[in-house]
Structure formats: structure tokens, C-alpha cells
Symmetry: C2
Subunit: 160 residues, 2 copies
DNA sequence: GTTAATGTTGAGAAATTTTGTCGGATATGT
DNA sequence: ACATATCCGACAAAATTTCTCAACATTAAC
């Protein structure tokens, strides 16, 4: 029973993103190189997160991703759901439904475990993880002249 | 995040075994055919469980497996450990140790989740799963003349 | 308008893990 | 001796996860 690297990548990338979220879009390649995650793989992941309502994207030059909502409003459970990473313990019930559900003696055990995990994932937000108690973070993008400078430096030093 | 079929097979097989535990050894092929688990695969699994101190084996004709200890003394956590199925959420810490442990913002989340799951697995015994509140079940094997009869019937009807 | 930076998508290759098989060795009750 | 079992290691098959690639769409900056 282990968490997929997809899920781990995602949380690290989202932590990275939200820790430098001053409303400027951050590019996938920036995050990927900082977090040492394959760029193209992270692109896929961010696509899922966007479709799942976790991220919003800004296409084109100087574009990138921003959080779709304030970090304290995004729970870990939502992130995993957006990734299509269901938290399943029994193959029973949640997946495709198991005909043995009634007789299967392990059913209630897995339900109990799942309930416990879900509880934690539902009550932990991205802000909790980053450790910042961000109270207000406007998701609107305010065109900011500083970003260009900062981005340029990061890009040069990484050479990507 | 899902439980392996190995773990599920194991719990079903152990439930089966302990629900008919009248101290007679039960053969792998009996359990496998009742539970619809590949015989040779279950052999492997039972080997692990034996080496992990969950099962005891009786070799030779009319042999089989019995619980090494009373069912109410075997926890699910022990079973998973015997199978070499660690309950890991972060790739961090438990697996091979991750150098980022200090900086990694997700560390405490996964530790919390793992702690919660472990708690449940540690406090749930095989007896709980089977639903029988077995208070006393002598692990010693008492050679019982009935077993042969019962086994013969079961084997014939399955035809394995 | 051209260009460069960036997101978007789908197909599929590569790697890893899980699941399952096989052949034979060893042990033991009858 | 024989039939029934466990035991063991290596391997085969399948599934899943991880990662790459190629082509395309969109936008900012020049």
C-alpha cells in the first residue's frame, strides 16, 4: 500500500507553486527543474489538475499556472481526486463493486481504514502543507512588471 | 493508493482458515479452491506468512497450515508486515529514507495519515475480522480423527 | 505579423511492480 | 512404497506506472 509518485510529484509541485504564488503564473518547466520532476510528465499532471479545478492556466508567452482557488480552500482530497488517484483499500466496494460485499469479512475493516484516511485528507489544505496560513489570495491575475525579471533569471540559471 | 491483491488474498485465506480452525491443518489447495485463488500463488503467500510467524505448517500427507497463534492475537498489521507489504504514504522516511525529510512540506501529512492507518491495523485482529470473539483457541494440534473424513469430502467435491 | 514561450493532447515506449506458473525437492501419514 | 502435502527458487505473464515524443494552439513581446 503506497502512494504513487504521481501523487507525490503533484503535492510537491503544488507546494512549490503556492509557496511562490504572488499571483504570477509559474511555468511547468520552472517547477519541474526546481523539484527535479520530468517536465513532460509534470505537464500531464498539471493538465489533470487544471481539468479538476485545482489549477488555472494562462497560455502563451510568459504564461504558466496559478492556483484556481486560494490555497486554504484546496484540500488534499480534492487534489487526489483530480488526479484520478482514488484512495481504495478493498478492491471491493468503491472500484467496480464486488458481489461479495455482504459476505466479505474484510469489508468493514477497509471501510474503516478508508474513512479514517479520507477524514485527514479532507481536512488538510494546501495552505496547511505549505505551512503558510494564507488568509486571502486573490486568484485574479494582476499583470505585474516584476515577474518578467524574476522569470528571466530563473530560466537562465537553469538553462532549460 | 490501493491494497495489493496479495494482501486481499491473504486476509481472505486467513479468514477462511481461522473460521474452520478446529486445530486441524488445512491444505493450501482446499483454501485456494474455496476462495478462488491460484493455488501456487497462495503457496507462496502462505510461505511468507509462515516465515512471518502468522502460520505454522504441518508437512506431509494430511498436513496443511494452522494459525501459529490464537486469532485474537494476530493483528492485521502483523499480517501485512509478514507479507512485506509496508504501509507507506510518503516515499520519504520509511522506505529508504529521503534526504529531503526536513524540508519536505508533505512529510508531516504522510506521517499523520500513516499513523492513523497503523493505529487501526494494529488494533484489529483476525478474530475481529472473522467476527468470532474467540476467547481461547489452543494453538497446539490435537490429532483429531474427524478431520480426515471432513477433508476427504471437501476434496472430492472440488475435484482439484 | 513574426517569433518565442508556453500550455494541450494523444499515442505510445520504457521501466517497474505485481501476479502467476513451473519443476522439482523435502517431509510425513498410511 | 505411495500419496499427499509443504517448500523453494527461478522465471513468465500481465498490469500498472512512469516517462517521452510529436504535433498543435494560444498568447506576449518585439
Amino acid at each position: 500500500m503506497r502512494l504513487s509518485t504521481t501523487a507525490r510529484y503533484s503535492l510537491r509541485a503544488l507546494s512549490d507553486l503556492s509557496s511562490r504564488a504572488d499571483n504570477d503564473p509559474v511555468s511547468v518547466s520552472d517547477i519541474a527543474s526546481r523539484q527535479d520532476i520530468p517536465v513532460t510528465y509534470l505537464e500531464q499532471i498539471f493538465g489533470k489538475l487544471r481539468r479538476g479545478g485545482i489549477l488555472a492556466s494562462i497560455r502563451g508567452s510568459q504564461g504558466g499556472y496559478i492556483l484556481a482557488r486560494p490555497a486554504n480552500d484546496i484540500t488534499v482530497a480534492e487534489i487526489l481526486q483530480a488526479l484520478g488517484e482514488p484512495v481504495i483499500f478493498g478492491s471491493c466496494q468503491t472500484e467496480k463493486g464486488c458481489e461479495n460485499a455482504v459476505t466479505c469479512p474484510t469489508f468493514s475493516l477497509w471501510r474503516k481504514v478508508k474513512g479514517s484516511v479520507d477524514e485527514i485528507l479532507r481536512t488538510t489544505t494546501l495552505a496547511d502543507i505549505v505551512g503558510e496560513k494564507i488568509s486571502l489570495m486573490t486568484p485574479a491575475k494582476t499583470p505585474d512588471p516584476e515577474r518578467e525579471e524574476a522569470r528571466r533569471k530563473a530560466t537562465e540559471s537553469k538553462g532549460e
